[in-house]
Symmetry: C2
């Protein structure tokens, strides 16, 4: 069932064309210049760690889209990107001249990878410029701003995908299927957590709540929230939550650790934790007849799945490659996006309820 | 580090004495009759499933104690026990004549395995009869009753052990050590759950809150509570909790599912779940430098331990054998009991706070 990335890499290595790609860094774009370009052009907007170390490399493996341009507020980054990915000058934008991307037929999709609170203005500008939009998670810092993004893309007639990479990972798709088809009976409880230990004061995530909108809940807990929602296949009816802080001089205006609990219409429940001072990385689904999950669950890989203490295997899947290809295909075929803006909005409504539950120390209904 | 029960069994199989034991059911007691009996005599009080299928077999492997008698309210059970374990008539008691056990030098220890709310009266009678007491978990149905049991044993000058079998399991002892010695840095978070799916209406646990004192929290969640306490090596300062019920015509007067969260003086936190309508069985400890745990964690075995996604192995350990032998040794050597009444009382105080937190829907301080 699962695609084995090792096999795919081995296959590529035995291909002369691929060998040339591997031997000559930066030649990937040139290779395809001779044949008509059918892949959609992606411009990455915001060249931080995720764009640099995950998305750009992932675009070296996509079949339906390719890295065609960049948009950056840091001119010093341009030279390296140009050289590494053989990008023409005309496809390189600053935040100032970004709106002129409207006139560039090379760019079909803008992938917004800025700090969270900048997602909306850039997504709006991209949509107004006639480009489809991928917006990294969390979608924005409030549900109101998520709604505005959805409206902007709808008004422009452009598709919007939220960068929920794990929805395109085979283990997580299997978790979704097992629940939907009740393969092991009804889902009764989900236990999940995603945490890491270490606050880095040089990163906006940990220092600027106006940009981040919150702490680990926004940043990594959102994967658990997604996991619970696709594991149960239901929307929650209520949440409770508890927030904790032990390091008082760090993480200004945001939580350090938050626990939350969810109730679903079927009676299923969920127990969740996320923290910047712990280590969690698991998704565990308890059903009438068994237990299955992914552990490690939420990192880039290798991930490992299990059913009733039997391994489902362990592998690296090109999550972002699959995610961007799926979006490109839904544009090409005009089919629904698997993780549209509405999905980001639903999570943001949950997160707001979780924060409210923690703040008010009471159960918050989502009905 | 870990005792391998397979090796021990293999060793026993190659011993002529053991071979005779295996070949002739019920001969275990006779074998030792010829040499001076140094093992302490245990009387099991309450011959339900746990005594029948776990404790009595476990006493076939103990080195420092042995099954010497029974106390039962069900005369029809006597014949089978007598035959199977070769018990003399003089060591068989009813609940009516139980107090005369005071005059029986064969019996050193009474192991109380009745429904929870009967632990206190039987433990008191056993202590008054001059016997050391093992009391199955949960210790009783309230902290007041736990205190009374501690007082009764202290007054009689008799030792009291609570039947926390997992404290005598090598994986769980390793969890305790790793935290105590901060082998992977300070403990930051514990995630744990113990649940099973299926309510059996023919058992007092599910039907009689006056006997059980509660639902899964009392019955199985208590293992998580223990796990958290030895994983952190700390006593909690506060708890929050949420109780859920989906099947309204079952589990009268008790919870069906309960989640609870704990805060510790160091800033460590814990996330816990227990339920009769789900499947959980894991203990996961997150520290500054790593993650380790046991999964499956709380059943009789095989259990499996891990450190940073590397297996610590998987095996069956004779938990109850180790537990009863440890108690017998602490009597013989007059050394402290590893899981004394005070340990059961501490858990009961936590459970009461958890129930209160769920009922009042607010954080309950334990300071």
């Amino acid at each position: 069932m699962h695609t084995n990335p090792i096999d795919r890499r081995d296959f590529l290595r035995t291909s002369a064309k691929a060998a040339a790609v591997l031997a000559v860094p930066g030649s990937l774009m040139n290779l395809t210049a001779a044949r008509p370009e059918t892949r959609l052009g992606v411009a990455l907007l915001g060249l931080g760690n995720y764009a640099t170390n995950q998305l750009a490399p992932a675009l070296g493996y996509t079949e339906h889209c390719r890295l065609a341009g960049i948009v950056t507020g840091t001119p010093s980054k341009i030279a390296e990107w140009k050289q590494k990915y053989d990008l023409p000058d005309k496809n390189i934008y600053s935040y100032d001249n970004f709106d002129s991307i409207a006139d560039n037929p090379d760019i079909d999709i803008v992938y917004v990878v800025t700090p969270n609170a900048l997602h909306l203005p850039f997504a709006e500008r991209a949509a107004r410029a006639g480009k489809h939009v991928i917006c990294e998670k969390p979608m924005e810092i409030s549900s109101d701003r998520c709604k505005m993004m959805i409206e902007a893309c709808a008004k422009a007639g452009k598709k919007l995908q939220i960068g929920y990479r794990l929805r395109y990972d085979p283990f997580h798709q299997e978790i979704e299927r097992l629940g939907r088809e009740q393969v092991h009976g009804k889902v009764k409880m989900v236990n999940t957590g995603f945490s890491f230990y270490g606050v880095n004061n040089s990163n906006w995530r940990f220092t600027d709540p106006k940009l981040s909108g919150g702490g680990p809940m926004m940043d990594i807990g959102i994967y658990c929230l997604q996991g619970i929602r696709y594991a149960t296949g239901e929307e929650p009816v209520a949440v409770t939550a508890q927030s904790f802080k032990t390091i008082m001089d760090k993480l200004p205006g945001m939580e350090e650790t938050i626990f939350w609990q969810m109730e679903f219409p079927s009676g299923a429940t969920a127990v969740c934790s996320t923290s910047y001072v712990a280590r969690d990385n698991y998704l565990r689904v308890s059903t009438e007849n068994g237990v299955y999950g992914v552990d490690p669950a939420y990192t880039y890989g290798p991930l490992a799945g299990y059913i009733n203490n039997q391994s489902m295997g362990e592998y690296n899947h090109r999550q972002q490659t699959a995610q961007m290809d799926a979006f490109a295909l839904s544009i090409k075929n005009n089919t629904p996006v698997k993780t549209p803006g509405e999905e980001g909005l639903r999570d943001m409504l949950c997160i707001e309820a979780i924060y409210k539950a923690a703040r008010k120390k009471k159960r918050i209904s989502l009905l």
